[in-house]
Each structure stands twice: as C-alpha cells, then as structure tokens.
Symmetry: C3
Subunit: 355 residues, 3 copies
Amino acid sequence: MVDGEVHGDPRIAISGLNDLDEATASEITFITKAGRAEAIENTRAAAVIVPLAVHSASKPLLRVKDPNVAAAVIHGYFESRPFEAAGISDQAVIGTDCAIPDQISISARAVLGNRVRLGERVTIHAGVVIGDRVTIGDDCILYPNVIVYPESRIGNRVLIHSGSVIGSDGYGYATDKNGRHLKRPHVGFVQIDDDVEIGANVCVDRGTFGRTWIKQGVKIDNLVQVAHNVVIGEGSLVVAQVGLAGSSSLGRGVVIGGQAGIKGHVHLEDGVMVAAQSGVHNNQPAGAIVSGTPAIPHKDWLKSSSILAKLPELYREIRELKKQLAALQAKGNGPKGQRPHRKKTAGKRGGKNEE
Amino acid sequence: MVDGEVHGDPRIAISGLNDLDEATASEITFITKAGRAEAIENTRAAAVIVPLAVHSASKPLLRVKDPNVAAAVIHGYFESRPFEAAGISDQAVIGTDCAIPDQISISARAVLGNRVRLGERVTIHAGVVIGDRVTIGDDCILYPNVIVYPESRIGNRVLIHSGSVIGSDGYGYATDKNGRHLKRPHVGFVQIDDDVEIGANVCVDRGTFGRTWIKQGVKIDNLVQVAHNVVIGEGSLVVAQVGLAGSSSLGRGVVIGGQAGIKGHVHLEDGVMVAAQSGVHNNQPAGAIVSGTPAIPHKDWLKSSSILAKLPELYREIRELKKQLAALQAKGNGPKGQRPHRKKTAGKRGGKNEE
Amino acid sequence: MVDGEVHGDPRIAISGLNDLDEATASEITFITKAGRAEAIENTRAAAVIVPLAVHSASKPLLRVKDPNVAAAVIHGYFESRPFEAAGISDQAVIGTDCAIPDQISISARAVLGNRVRLGERVTIHAGVVIGDRVTIGDDCILYPNVIVYPESRIGNRVLIHSGSVIGSDGYGYATDKNGRHLKRPHVGFVQIDDDVEIGANVCVDRGTFGRTWIKQGVKIDNLVQVAHNVVIGEGSLVVAQVGLAGSSSLGRGVVIGGQAGIKGHVHLEDGVMVAAQSGVHNNQPAGAIVSGTPAIPHKDWLKSSSILAKLPELYREIRELKKQLAALQAKGNGPKGQRPHRKKTAGKRGGKNEE
C-alpha cells in the first residue's frame, strides 16, 4: 500500500493510526525525521512508520521513503468508511426536475433548487442551499450551511466545508460621471474540478462573463477570497485568508501562503511560491519564490527585511559620514583651498553639504 | 439610454450583451480602450460599444464617452427581470406582528422574528434569519443564509450576499484588575442606507451605543469586517478582506483596497484612496492616496518600496564609505597631523570610525 | 457593585446606562478620562461615572478607579435578562440519545445530531447545526447559523456569533511524488473552555490528532482563523481577521491585533502583544511587544518604519557622499599621489568607487 519494508514481526495486528503521544498499544504511529528516532522508545504504539534512514529499533518498523505520505495513506485507510445512503430527509426541500440518484444522503433542512443534478454517493448536510441548475459529481460532501449559487458546476470527490459560498456575484461596478456605482450583471459561473477541497467560510465569486475555475486537486483553506474569473491551476495550495483578486490566475502547483494577496489580472506560472502576507503586484515566472509587498524574490526579501531592523543605525551612520566628510573637505580646502565640485554640489541639495 | 451615437445600421436587433470572446451574432459586446479596436474584427458580436476615439469599423458601433458605464447600463437592461412575487413559503417561519406586503418572496427555511417590517418586492432566500424589530425597505434581496440581528435598519434596493452577518455584537470588553474581560453590552444597531451592496461572509457589528452606519450607494466586497460604530460615507468602495476597526469613519467616495486595515477612531475624509494591504494609523485629508503600514502618501511609498529591495546594496555601500573615509582621515592626519573633530566624533560611536 | 464613591444625591433612581450623547435624564453615563470632565455639563444624564481624579461637578458622580470597568458592570446589570426557557421548537430537528435539560431554548430550524449533551439554560438559535457527540455547558448562546462539527466540547457561558464554524477539518495534506495532495484524516476535536466569546464567521479547525484548545476567558473577534491544534491561553484577545496557523500557541493574556498572522508552531509566551497586521515568524518571550513582518520589538519597528519614508532621501545622500568622497580622494592623490587602499577597494565593487 505504501511501498515500504517491514522490519520486525510482520504479523502484528494494527487497529488504527495515531500520533506519538496518543497512540495505543494496538495502533501504529510515525516519525518523519530520523533525528526523532529516540521518540520510538517512548511511544506505546505497536509499530512505527519511519524514514529509510532509521534501520532498527525496539519495535516493529515500517520503513518508507516518505513517512508523511505513508501515514496519510494508512490513516486514510483506517478512517475511510463505506458510503451509507441515508436517502432524502423528509424535511429537506427539493425543487422540480432534479436528477438525484438512489445512493445519496440529503439531510433535514437542505434546500435544492430546480434542475439540480447530483452524482452518486453525494452527502448534502443540514442547512446547505443549492441553487437552480447546479451540477455536482460523484462522492462529494457539502458540509452544513454551504451555499451554492445557481449554475455552479462541481466535479467528483469535492469537499466543501461549512459556511463557504460558491458563485456569489463578483465585485464589479461601472462608476458614472455622478460617482454612482452601477452594478455589472454577473452572468458567468463557477467551475470546480475533481478532488478539490474547500475550507470553511470561503468565498468563490462567479465569473462576470465566463467562469471562475478551480482546477483538479486544488486545496483551499478557510476564509479565502476567490474573486470573479480567477483560475487556480491543478494541485495548487491556497492557505487561509488569502485574497485572489479578479481575473488573477495561478498555474499548476502554485502555493500561496496565508493572508497573501494577488492583484487583479496577475498571472503566477507553474510552481510559484508566495510567502504568507505577501502582496503580488506583478506576473511571476515558473518556480519563482516571492515575499513582501510588493513581492520580490524571497532571497532578496530576506536580506532586505533583515536590514530593516538596522535602518535607524544606518540613518545615524549616514549623518555621521556627512559630518566627517564635511570636516575633511573644510580641512582640505584650508585657508587657501577651494571647494571641490562647488558647482555640482551646490543646487537644490547643495546647502546641506556646506559647512 | 447611454447617450451614445450609433455608427452603422441602427436597426439591428440585439438580444443581449457578452464579452468579446463569448458574444454571439445576436449580442452586443464592448471595448473600453481605443487601443483594443482591432479586437472588433475578431468577435462574432453583432455590434460593439466603443469609446469616442474609435470612429468606424467593419461592424455597427455604439460610440459613447464611457464604454464601461454604457456596457453596465445596457447589460443591466438585458438582465433585469420583473419581480415575481412567490409569496411566503409554508416552510418559512414568521414571527408575530410582522408587516409583510403581498409583493414578496420568502423562501422555505427562512426565519423571521417578531415585529419585522418588510418593504415591497423583497426577496428573502432560504436559510435567512431576520431578528426581531428589523426593518427592510423596498426591492431588497437577502441571499441564502444571511443573518440580520435584531433592530437592524435596512434601506431600499440593498443586496446582501450569502453568509453575511449584520448586527452581531462588537468586540468590546473592559478588563478588570484581575485581567478578566467583562463584556460591554452592545445596545446599538446597524443602519444600511439605500443602494448598498454587501458581498458574501461579511461581518457588520452593531454599535456599542448608537449605530454602525453604511451610507447610500456603498459597495462592500466579500469577507470584510465592519466593526462597531463605523461610518462609511456615500458611494465608498470597500474591497475584499478589509478590516475597519471600531469607530473608524470614511467620508464620501472613499476607496479601500483589498486586505487593508483602518485603525479604530481614524477618519478618512472624502475621496481618500487606500492601497491594498495598507494599514492606516492616522486621519487622512480629502483626496489623499496612501499606501503601506503605517500608511504614507502613495508616491512616497512607491519610492521607498522600490529602494527596499536595494537595502542590502545600500548597507554595503555605507560600510565601504566608512572604510574609505577613515583611510582618508588617517592619511590626511599623517604622521604629523591631528585627527579632525576628535572630541566630536569620539564618543559612543567614535570607536567605529577609527582604524 | 463597582467599589465606587457616590458624590452628590445618592437616592436618585437610574433606569439604564448610555453614552454621553444619548443618555436621557433617567440614565447614568460615564467618562473615562478626567480631561473630559467638562463634557459632564453637556450631557442630559442623571449621573456620571467618573475617574477618581474628578472630584465634583454639577451632577451626582460615581467616583471609581476604572470607569470602563464600572460602566461595563453597571451596564451589564441593567441589560441582563433572566433566562426564559422557550423549550424546543417543533420545527427543530433533534437526533437520538441527546441529553437536553428542561431549561432550554432551541429555535426553529436548529438541527442537533445524535448523542448531543446540552447544559442548563442554553440558547440555540435558528439555523444552528450541532454534530454528533457534541457537549455544551451551561448558559451558552449559539447565534443563528453557527455550525459545530461532531465531537466538539464547549464549556459554560460560551457565546458564539452567527456563521462561525467550530471543528471543521484542518488544512493538512501529504504530497506524494506525483504532486498529488493526500488528505490527512482529522481525528482530533475542538475544546472551548468557560467564558469564551467567539465573533461572527470565525473558523476553528479541529485537531489533526488531539485538540484545538481555546482556554478560559478568551475573546475572539470576527473572521478569525484558528487552525488545527492551536492553543490559546487564558484571557487572550484575538482581534478581527487574525490568522493563527497550525499548532501555534499563545500563553495567558496574549493580545493579537487585527489582521496579524502567527506562523505555524510558533509559541507566544504570557502577555505578548502583537501589533495589527504583523507577521510573527518566531517564538516570543513573555511580555514582548512586537510589530511588523517578520515581527521585531515594537520600539525598533517604530524607529525603522519612521525611516522607511525617508529611504529615498537616504538613497540620494549616499550617492552624494560617494561622489564627494571620490572627489576628495582624487584631490588628495593629486598628480603625484597614490590611491589609498587600492587593493582592498578594488574588487567586485571597487570600480564604482573610482572616478
């Protein structure tokens, strides 16, 4: 299952996975770094998933290339439950002309509009509201109070956590000569592809025209703003409280740190990484790692920000240099000398440079 | 309707408005800049709204001063639908002593408290909860799961998107000598004037005393925090994820960029513009354009932030200047000379300037 | 009640508390600073709570050490209402094996899962969804549309405002060699201790393993992100739009300003204060006051940020210093002289320093 090698008794039975502190004698646990190998001796776990660099210990080991991945796979195996169709609650409200398969769970107080199409094994929790003509693929879970506006298109195996709003109008106005903001109709839609997970209280606006598009395998954390016509490429990660402004676009495997903002219409190519709280004002080439507002290469930002704290010192030093230089100039010119470059330094700033 | 001039066949029938790429042969589209005039040749649209600087093309044109405004007006015309009263769902919950006109749509699972007053042609979507004594004007739309706490006062033509919370308690505590935070009662309310639009998952806290006030024509994007006793002046724009702290106030036509924060009690006069992610710590005069944290005039910020990336270089240069100056001083003093300004430069920093 | 001293007629009857502007002749009001004593003459209030430094005025006074605390206590007294049990609405949905006392108010459209345990005098508003096996203590209020995921544990006197989501999955994935993000099961829970208040549209993720823990007396403002396994110490204050990343932890009495972010696994000891919009990347010792991104001591940040605006000027000055120094060097070397430190200054940057 995880392409690992068992070291020790291969016949022990494992009932679950837990972390080092809480694992019981029937559970497996894991360490991600060989340096933490001594912790193996202190856990009650029956066995430990370890990186290849750990060769033996007093407990059975499962040696793997990437313990993080192996733990996620094994834990997912233990925690997965077969879908149990609860059917449609008689306290749910279902519109007309909906296509709903038998293998479905729709809780009390869910509301579906007209012509909604649901895939197999979908779970719609209490308080979810799904607008007209929405389509949802197989094996999706919409947690309590998720709102999906009309025309949204959701793929397979999509999870959306509570309070998230999919498909509300974008922020688009035309301001007339009297300063009145005229609302632009938002006639586009939201498309969410397979294997996307969206956190709690996220906002994904519909396209002004066309679509806002969250592609396959994207994972979005809580409280994120995805504006109209944004495109998020396959497998990108968007951490909590990020804001993606209108028509910004992310390539594949982009990572946006928490509370960062991407300006409207800016494009981040594949694999770009944006540090938390950054503000990206310009397009970024593939693989760029950027920080700060406006965002610059992360290496440069590290240097600059380390000097930021020294600014008061630099300021004093410059003042001191000026004083000393002026003294030197005065001395050099002496009673008989002339000022060097008098014409050049005199001028708008010249006064400051004279004694 | 838009005060424009038709160039070409004025009798063509238009069924809608769409963008350049998606417009069909029965739709009108638009360009906002004359420089994009060549795009007119590639759209399938029947006609194009253009700025006055475009005089002719192979298609019928509608020449206008501001194509953005004209497109919004024309698109709004095509997309507007007459209000159709769906009445009150028998699965809605309505309190006592409410005033609800006939021309109304209240969906299943909406909950209204007691003594709620609704205007004409109001749409209350599923899952909306409206507290006691709330008043709502004509032609408002409350999207699914909007929450309005008791006593809130909402004007005409107000749109509030899903998940927004109007009138929750502000963040106000008095900390006693034991460090215990005593809750201040929040006995104020929220007032939202005509033509306001509020995005999804926005929070507007009620006043501690008196009101939190969102004035006429204000447009608020998603995930914005409006704290207790904030005042937002007519026609101001507040972009996604902005935070307006308690008792901050905005004049008319203020624009706050995404993720910016305004400190408590700070006042921004008419027309102030705040760049995205800025933090405004001080009052700003009318028309000021500010950036950064703490916010300074945008022009200055542009200069400063462009130098930020050069800080490491500056740092090295100052080190070099000090070295060279010290060498020059040493040489000038020579075997026979004296150090200039010895008393002045010697001192807490003097040592660094000597070889 | 507030350990104060009455100055003036002690027999006047007071019907409530209000602010200076809105207080009526039967209400008490308050000022927090002696410098505002002249305002006493302009309020209609029957009496005024004042700091000890105010000794007399034309109205009865209540002289106290801390008028903020006294006003909160007195106002809380006037506004407190005895709990009135409304019982369980017949439009609420209650799961199996729940433990619900008689003294309870559960509104229409609330949904409780199975084996939920509620304390005495709990108010569950409309649209609240409570998952299986949740426990809630005495005297709690869950405002409309609060979502509590399964297994969450909530103490006594906890207030949670509308739209907040307690216990959703954390943001945790393991990325395999193909770039696929495998979801880690989140098998932990959320624990909220006594006297906590949580604002609107807040997200508190459950632990990956073990708990996310909000301790006694913590007050959280709106739109805050509390990630998996975060610990917030007793009496800490977390202002709007703050993000606390996974496994970050706060000691007692920590204050986090609005829109600030705390990096994952960072620990802030007791009494740390973080300025608004800061980004804290490192552990902070008890009592530290920090600002900026990355956060540094607030005093240093004040100095540095005041110089930020002067960077363009510094930049010009350094250019000027270099020019003058070069001129001086040239003159000093004259036709017969030699360049000082030639070997040292020549090098990668040397060229710039020569004429």
